[in-house]
């Protein structure tokens, strides 16, 4: 096992492009800041103009990279494969080309079995204008992702973008070896509006931002064990989380999934009757759960480490 820890990984901070906030940065800025300077080589870059073949039918503008940037770079000199979603283009949603890039990358990672994969999630889920292609892409990505993991490849997800990690993105995230999430990085399947539309505002008021954050946001995910690392909203913090989690990703076996089964069953047992995240946090042992949303990064990390030790053998 590696000796890399979150603390001693803070070395050689590199100059960042134009913003230090992960949330505010574009997919390309995140990739550039995450990797060693000038180390990124993109596969099928925007100059190839491989745009969505379906958006024209809806009279919608395309983007040259279809909102997905994939390629090879280095962290501390070691090669990594990287995929980054652009959450501002079509909400980072999975379309045909967008999804196929990640799928191809994971298949290569599986067959090379020599370098980890980082997935920089920023997605509202399936792109409705190409819903069938997007849904299938997600299923194909999950299979390729698991095959890569079986081959011993760490696949680490980083969640902290504007569009969060919704819909099928949440399922892909749940398939990763490990996740780092920031407070802004919501992870969920049904988004707030979807729940409200289907079940009514009494079930979920999508305009209640505090409710959205504490139900789906990064702090809650970290506290229930849905993410291993809580990251600060900086590119540096995600870089540290990535290099830490890459080292903690054993290939999944039957034991791993049995452990996950037990972990998830325990969660239903412990929190299944809770009506709100505040109740869950209280039953975890937080004495003042209502103060958690406002806690600073450092204070929250300390609290989370006390309440819920992250596991690395049960997903």
């Amino acid at each position: 096992m590696s000796t890399v820890t979150l603390d001693n990984a803070k070395v050689e901070r590199q100059p960042l492009v134009s913003t230090d906030s992960w949330y505010e940065a574009s997919a390309r800025q995140r990739v550039e800041g995450l990797l060693d300077a000038n180390s990124f080589v993109e596969f099928i870059g925007p100059e190839m103009r491989e745009i969505s073949p379906h958006l024209a039918l809806f009279d919608l503008p395309e983007q040259f990279d279809d909102g997905m940037v994939v390629g090879l770079g280095r962290i501390d000199g070691a090669p990594v494969l990287v995929a980054a979603q652009e959450g501002r283009f079509m909400g980072g949603a999975f379309g045909e080309v967008h999804g196929a890039k990640l799928k191809g990358l994971l298949r290569a990672a599986r067959d090379m079995a020599s370098m980890p994969v980082l997935i920089l999630f920023d997605t509202g889920g399936v792109r409705l204008q190409e819903a069938n292609a997007g849904e299938l892409a997600i299923a194909e990505i999950m299979r390729a992702l698991m095959e890569a993991r079986f081959a011993g490849v760490p696949v680490v997800g980083l969640v902290g973008g504007r569009s969060g990690c919704y819909g099928g993105g949440g399922l892909i995230a749940g398939s990763c070896s490990a996740l780092a999430v920031s407070e802004q990085g919501r992870i969920s399947v049904s988004g707030p509006e979807v729940i409200e539309t289907n079940r009514g505002v009494e079930e979920f008021d999508s305009k209640d931002r505090a409710l959205v954050w504490r139900t789906m946001g990064g702090k809650h995910r970290r506290l229930i064990g849905g993410a291993e690392v809580f990251a600060d909203d900086t590119i540096e913090s995600f870089r540290n989380a990535a290099r830490y989690l890459i080292e903690l990703a054993p290939a999944p076996t039957l034991d791993t999934l049995e452990a996950e089964q037990a972990r998830l069953a325990q969660r239903i047992h412990d929190f299944g009757d809770c009506a709100d995240a505040l109740d869950i946090w209280r039953s975890l042992g937080a004495s003042e759960p209502e103060t958690i949303p406002a806690l600073s990064y450092e204070a929250f990390v300390a609290l989370a480490d006390r309440l819920q030790e992250p596991r690395h053998d049960a997903r």
């Binding site: 379906h54 290569a108 819903a131 069938n132 194909e140 998830l264």
Partner: protein, 241 residues
């Protein structure tokens, strides 16, 4: 076909499939005498955290029992259960866990076959039917990534406009034909002849080692670019080191 009719046609030699609270579990006997594990969702039941955990638990039991018994996943489900509670409990992990268990089972020699005989949608579709190695369907199946009324709300296009657009492409609208064309479904079965024989025939064919759904999507003119883009990224990545 109803689930009763389907089970009768699939397992004339008998089965012990139990149906409880929308979930299906048990074992059937194949024409060649072998056993096949059966799990599934019926009655358009939404897949929430409990349902996903139970189905995944069933798959784990099959793996632990050893051997290489195939697994049949019967699907007439709702969507993922859309509720505050399910999201609070991290339903994304539960659905992913179910898919991962099916993928692991397949890797360990338990051929996974899905049979889509009714409805399914969104996250439940990914975690069940689309997580099997070979997806079969019966005519009348109604897969929908998202229904047109919801799509209409989000895209701000009328249902009439969406239906008109759907005539020119299978890529977004619900329906078995569209999902078939995009490569999700390997084969549509004939309900008039023995499902047992048709299932046995599928199991007798060697499984595709590689996920070939994007190839099928290209051949069937449902997904013009996916296979090509994935292959090119694959080759560029392999050539980069």
């Amino acid at each position: 076909m109803t689930l009763d009719e389907i089970l009768a046609s699939l397992f004339p030699a008998g089965h012990d499939v139990v149906r409880e609270r929308g979930l299906i579990a048990g074992q059937g006997r194949l024409p060649d005498g072998g056993a096949i594990a059966v799990i599934g969702v019926e009655g358009q039941t939404p897949v929430g955290v409990e349902e996903a955990a139970q189905l995944a638990g069933n798959v784990i039991e099959v793996i632990k029992s050893g051997g290489n018994e195939p697994i049949l996943v019967l699907i007439d489900s709702g969507s993922q259960r859309m509720s505050k509670r399910d999201e609070l409990l991290g339903i994304n992990e539960f659905l992913a866990h179910l898919a991962k268990c099916l993928i692991l089972a397949d890797k360990l020699g338990h051929r996974t076959v899905g049979l889509l005989y009714g409805h399914t949608a969104a996250g439940a579709f990914i975690a069940t039917a689309l997580a099997t190695r070979t997806l079969l369907a019966l005519p009348g199946a109604e897969p929908a990534v998202m229904d047109l009324p919801s799509m209409s709300r989000v895209t701000k296009l009328s249902i009439d406009v969406l239906e008109e657009k759907a005539k020119s492409t299978p890529v977004f609208a619900p329906g078995l034909d569209n999902l078939f064309q995009t490569g999700a479904v390997a084969v549509t079965l004939d309900p008039a002849s023995s499902l047992a024989d048709q299932l046995q025939a599928q199991l007798s064919r060697p499984a595709e080692r590689d996920d070939n759904r994007d190839q099928l999507g290209a051949e069937r003119n449902g997904r013009p670019k996916a296979a090509d883009i994935a292959r090119r990224v694959y080759e560029l990545a392999r050539a980069s080191v």
